[in-house]
Structures are given as structure tokens and as C-alpha cells.
């Protein structure tokens, strides 16, 4: 029964992806392309945070590594931009493994703490080696254009590229979390001691999850670079890493379908939803709702409210509305995400 719902949901998603550009303006289509890109990053981070229970405040930097890999291959080595995507993922994944190898040997808060330093360190390294990365100025990619003789608007082109990759990565994430490996991930999240006692290598699993999540983020970063056609050290600030984590919590940690809500939130909160929400208040009070920082306040408050009211995120809320099962309420009370949620 559960499996059939999963297939139905995925079919609905595919239909939505096909229909969306037909009813959207070019600008909206371009924004939706970024939803696809963020979806890839969130799916990856969710494997680490949602399924394995390890907080990372640094995955924006792995997007950055992927973006720079793509940019350098395209600009300096003349690669076709789409062919760089697997390389971007692998480079970021290897960087993730290299970092995860020491950092994931430890329980508790140490990992989250160390990851907080990645985005700021990444910016420092970019600026230190300008001959390779373009330094503070960054690097310019060729403008966005359709390929293979397809005559499409650049926005529509990047939309399709992003979402085809995103759907493929969705299936990959599904394959990863459903079987034996997925059970190992969840066992580490729910009880490291029990996991160890059952013969699961907790540090090995955490490290693998870290590498996989970095791989997803690297692919997303490569697409991001192709879409914005320009990267510099400010493209991937620490705010992005935090926003990705917020997207996970809001979508529902440990739920794949929830990441679609998360990705929509990540794309639209800063420029569309945040200011709109503030405008409601500015009717009453005289505040400048377009001031810098105002959207940060909005999504910070939204995050807090979600933590209080719906710890299982949007996916948990939908689940509660649809099924009305008492079990979900119990999960929320225990402040754990549904353990066996798949897709």
C-alpha cells in the first residue's frame, strides 16, 4: 500500500514538473529551475541530517566546490558544461569524504561544530589561490544556451536540465535510503549504541553519508554555476549553508518528498515569501520591509515556529492531515521524524 502511494506521488511530481513550465513565465521558469537545483542539494543533505541524524552547517561550501569544479573545467579546459556535472559531484564527494573521515569519528555535537567552519574556510582558500579560482573577482562562464540542436529559451533549457537531473537524483536517494544501507543510516540516528551493538560501523556509516551528501551538493553546485553563469567567493556564503539546513527542517527531516517543500522554501523565502509576509505587518506598523536582514528575521522566526509546532516539518504536517494517524502525533511529541518514511 505504502509503496503504491510512493509511485503515485512520484508520478504526480513528474506531471507537475512537465506542466509547470507550460503555465509559467520565463522568469518563473528560471526560478523553478533553482527549486530543482536546491532539491538535489536538500536530498543529499537530508541523507546526512534527516536519515543519519548529523547536523551540517557547511554543505553550501560543497555546492561551492562543485560549482568551481564545473566552472574551471568549462572555462579553462573547454569541457561541455553538462559533462562536468558528474565530475563536480565526485570532486565535492571526495572533499566531503576527506573532511568526514576525521570529523565523523565522534559522537554528539562535534561534527556540527566543525562543519560550521567549512564555508568560511572555503572562502579563505578561494581568495588565497586566485590563479586557480579567479580570487575575489571569481570566474565568468559562457552564457546559458540550449544544446543538441534544441531551440529553447535559456530559462526553459536550464529548467529541464535541472529537473531531469533532480528526478534522477531523487530516485538515487530513494534507492539509497530504502534498503540495508538506509536501515544502517537510521540506526545510527536513532541509537548509536544499538547500531554499534548490531554490528553497524557508526563512523563508517556517518562518513559514507557525509561523502554521499557532499556528492549531491556538488552536482547541485555544478548546475547552479551553469545557471547563474558566474561564480565568486560570495556566491556560497555561510547563509546558504544555514538556509539548506532550514530547508531540511521545514520540509521534514527524514522525508524525501518533504524536500520539495524545502526546496520551494529555500528558493522563494528570500525574495518572494519573506517580503510578502512582512508586508502584512507593515500595514499595521511603519517598518521598512525591504531593509537588508528583514528576510533573515522572517525565516529565522518561521524556523523557530516550525520547531515548536511541527518538528516533523511540512511532510509531517501533510502526513498528519492525510492519515490522521495517532502515531504521527506521537512521533512529533517524541520529537523524532517518522522512522520508516520512504519517499
Amino acid at each position: 500500500m505504502r509503496l503504491r502511494w510512493g509511485y503515485l506521488g512520484f508520478a504526480l511530481l513528474v506531471v507537475a514538473v512537465i506542466v509547470a513550465p507550460l503555465v509559467s513565465t520565463n522568469y518563473r521558469t528560471f526560478q523553478l529551475a533553482f527549486v530543482g537545483i536546491y532539491l538535489i542539494a536538500l536530498l543529499g543533505l537530508n541523507i546526512l541530517t534527516g536519515f543519519t541524524g548529523q547536523i551540517s552547517l557547511g554543505h553550501g561550501a560543497f555546492m561551492g566546490i562543485g560549482a568551481y569544479a564545473t566552472t574551471i573545467l568549462v572555462v579553462d579546459h573547454g569541457w561541455n558544461d553538462l559533462l562536468t556535472l558528474p565530475v563536480a559531484g565526485i570532486v565535492a564527494g571526495l572533499a566531503g569524504l576527506a573532511f568526514g573521515l576525521p570529523a565523523t569519528r565522534f559522537a554528539g555535537p562535534y561534527l556540527a561544530l566543525a562543519t560550521f567552519a567549512i564555508p568560511l574556510s572555503f572562502i579563505g582558500v578561494l581568495k588565497r589561490f586566485p590563479h586557480f579560482t579567479g580570487g575575489t573577482l571569481g570566474k565568468q562562464l559562457p552564457s546559458l544556451h540550449s544544446q543538441f540542436g534544441i531551440d529553447a529559451n535559456p530559462s526553459v533549457w536550464i529548467y529541464w536540465v535541472s529537473w531531469i537531473v533532480a528526478l534522477a537524483m531523487f530516485l538515487l536517494a530513494y534507492a539509497l535510503v530504502r534498503g540495508r544501507f538506509g536501515r544502517a543510516l537510521r540506526s545510527v540516528r536513532d541509537s548509536e549504541i544499538a547500531a554499534t551493538a548490531s554490528g553497524v560501523s557508526t563512523s563508517g556509516i556517518k562518513c559514507a553519508a557525509f561523502g554521499i551528501s557532499a556528492f549531491f551538493c556538488g552536482v547541485a553546485g555544478g548546475l547552479f554555476a551553469i545557471a547563474v553563469t558566474y561564480v565568486n567567493p560570495d556566491t556560497f556564503p555561510i547563509d546558504l549553508s544555514i538556509l539548506l539546513l532550514v530547508g531540511i527542517v521545514l520540509g521534514g527531516a527524514g522525508s524525501l518528498s518533504g524536500m520539495i517543500f524545502g526546496a520551494l522554501f529555500v528558493e522563494f523565502i528570500r525574495i518572494t515569501w519573506g517580503p510578502a509576509l512582512l508586508d502584512l505587518f507593515s500595514q499595521v506598523h511603519h517598518i521598512n520591509t525591504r531593509a537588508p536582514g528583514s528576510s533573515l528575521v522572517v525565516y529565522g522566526v518561521v524556523l523557530l515556529l516550525v520547531l515548536y509546532a511541527a518538528p516533523a516539518g511540512a511532510a509531517g504536517l501533510v502526513r498528519r492531515l492525510v492519515t490522521g494517524r495517532a502515531a504521527v502525533a506521537a512521533w512529533a511529541k517524541q520529537d523524532r521524524t517518522p522512522a520508516d518514511e520512504q519517499a
Partner: protein
């Protein structure tokens, strides 16, 4: 020799700023096992409050540095206690993951609020210390560095005296070591956690006000400092207040020495180097220099 002592003094001054923020982290971590990711932004925000006291007239006149400093410490204390009561307390029975996420939400909100209220541009923050130097045996010693070092360590010392010699301090230590037993003996542990947040906010305010004159005031001023403080706390052992202070100072001196004598380590590489140190310490001695190794039954 001259170069060595100057690097040492600059390192100690930077290190004392890291040390006070590291101590703030350890205070909250010891009591609740929660890393407060908003610690840096709390420090930044209270430094902006000090800035407001210094530049805008309140009750007819602006304050000079030291009155503003102490008024800010009081405000920071109330602010810290308030945050714990309003934001963290409702999550008392939630998992550590949720509480950590709540501190990240606080980080985002405070960062946004500061940019909203005071604009994100860099601001000049006055220093209470002269820019001149003392000359001792041919070595120039910066009064600014010495002042920062002195003030920060004095605040840490006052806090240590409080924990060591007052009844409330004893209760707070008891609450951190064994909350259940402390509660059974009549200690109101929930309020002690709020007090802990208050003291942590005060330490943060000290580090913010001491680093702002040299690093300028901006909403992101404490992000790097927070990471250095993390690294310092890890170096000393996240469980140990003494370790946090020594770790923070040690990291400051180490980075200053590397910057002076190892030329590939430019200012841009300070953070990556700190991250590297953090990872190496975690690998070699996960509990830090002063920490106890906690053995868990499997």
C-alpha cells in the same frame, strides 16, 4: 626577538577574545550538552547595543566607554536570561538536535535584526585604550593588546571567583554535574540554566566589545571569532572551563606565530588553519587537552 614578542602579545590579545567566547560556549555546553550556535551573534548584537549607547543620546546624553561597557554587560545578562526563558525553555523536553536547531534559528534572527536595525555596513567602534605603545627593553608592547588581554582575563577571573566561592556558583556547578540529584536537593535547575545563558551572554559581550575596535562592527563580525572560539574550546576540551581559556589563548598565539613566521599562511588562511587544527585535535585527542575521556557502554 622584537617580532616574537609583538606576535606573542597580539596572539594573547586575540586569544583572550577567543577564550572568553569559548568559555561562554563551555558554560552552556557543560550544563545542557547543547552547542549554542547563536553565541557569536549574541555577542555581536550586544556590541551593537554598546554602540547605540555610545553614539545615540539616551536621557539627554551619550555614555562614555566604560559606563557603556558596564551597562551593556547588564543588558547582555538580562538578554541571555530572557532568550533562555523565551526561546530555549519551551524545548526543555525536546531532543538535542531540536535545541541546536533553535540556536541556529536565533543566529539567523539576530544576524538579520542587526542588519535591519543598524544596516549591514561596517561601523567604527571606539577603543578605550590608546594606540601608543610601551617600550620595554627595546620591545614595543601595544597598549591596545595589553588592555584587551587584561579586561578579558579580569572578566573571566570574576566569573571563576563567582563559581568557586558563592553558594549560587556551587549550585550551578552541581546542576551541571548532576541535574537530577541537584533538583532533588532543592536546586532550581531550570532557572540555573537561564543564569548560565546570562553569564554566557555577558562573556560574549566582553569578547564582542573587545574585538570590535580592531575588527570593526558588522553583523558578521563574530562569525569567524565563533569558529576560533570553537576550535579553542575543542583544543582545551569542551567539558573544561580552564581548558577553554587555555585553548583560546593557545590558539590565538599559535595563529599569530604562524602568521608571522610561516609566510604561506596569509590572513585568508587563518580560518582554514584553525579548521585544520580543530580536525587534528579531534583525531589525536578528541576530549581535548584538559577534557576527560567519557567511556560509553556499548
Amino acid at each position: 626577538m622584537q617580532q616574537f614578542f609583538q606576535a606573542l602579545m597580539t596572539g594573547l590579545a586575540d586569544g583572550s577574545i577567543y577564550a572568553s567566547l569559548a568559555l561562554a560556549l563551555v558554560l552552556i555546553y557543560k550544563a545542557t550538552e547543547v552547542i549554542n550556535f547563536a553565541q557569536g551573534e549574541m555577542a555581536m548584537f550586544t556590541t551593537y547595543i554598546a554602540y547605540a549607547l555610545l553614539t545615540h543620546p539616551h536621557f539627554g546624553h551619550t555614555l562614555s566607554f566604560w559606563p557603556a561597557f558596564f551597562v551593556t554587560l547588564v543588558i547582555a545578562f538580562v538578554f541571555g536570561v530572557g532568550l533562555q526563558r523565551v526561546v530555549i525553555k519551551p524545548l526543555e523536553h525536546a531532543s538535542v538536535l531540536t535545541v541546536v536547531m533553535a540556536t541556529i534559528a536565533l543566529l539567523v534572527i539576530l544576524n538579520g535584526l542587526a542588519a535591519w536595525i543598524w544596516s549591514p555596513e561596517l561601523k567604527f567602534f571606539p577603543s578605550p585604550f590608546p594606540t601608543s605603545t610601551w617600550v620595554v627593553g627595546g620591545v614595543h608592547i601595544s597598549k591596545q593588546d595589553t588592555g584587551v588581554f587584561g579586561v578579558t582575563l579580569a572578566c573571566v577571573a570574576v566569573l571563576w571567583l563567582f563559581f568557586r566561592f558563592t553558594k549560587l556558583g556551587l549550585a550551578m556547578r552541581a546542576g551541571a554535574v548532576n541535574p537530577v540529584a541537584a533538583r532533588l536537593l532543592g536546586v532550581r535547575t531550570s532557572w540555573l540554566l537561564a543564569l548560565g545563558w546570562g553569564f554566557a551572554a555577558v562573556l560574549g559581550a566582553v569578547s564582542g566589545m573587545m574585538s570590535a575596535p580592531t575588527n570593526f562592527l558588522s553583523p558578521s563580525m563574530m562569525q569567524a571569532v565563533l569558529i576560533f572560539a570553537f576550535a579553542g574550546a575543542i583544543l582545551g576540551g569542551l567539558e573544561s572551563p580552564v581548558g577553554a581559556v587555555v585553548g583560546g589563548l593557545g590558539l590565538g598565539v599559535l595563529l599569530s606565530m604562524l602568521g608571522t613566521y610561516v609566510h604561506p599562511v596569509t590572513p585568508e588562511l587563518r580560518l582554514p588553519v584553525a579548521l585544520l587544527i580543530l580536525l587534528v585535535v579531534l583525531l589525536i585527542r578528541p576530549a581535548g587537552i584538559f577534557g576527560r575521556v567519557v567511556v560509553r557502554r556499548v
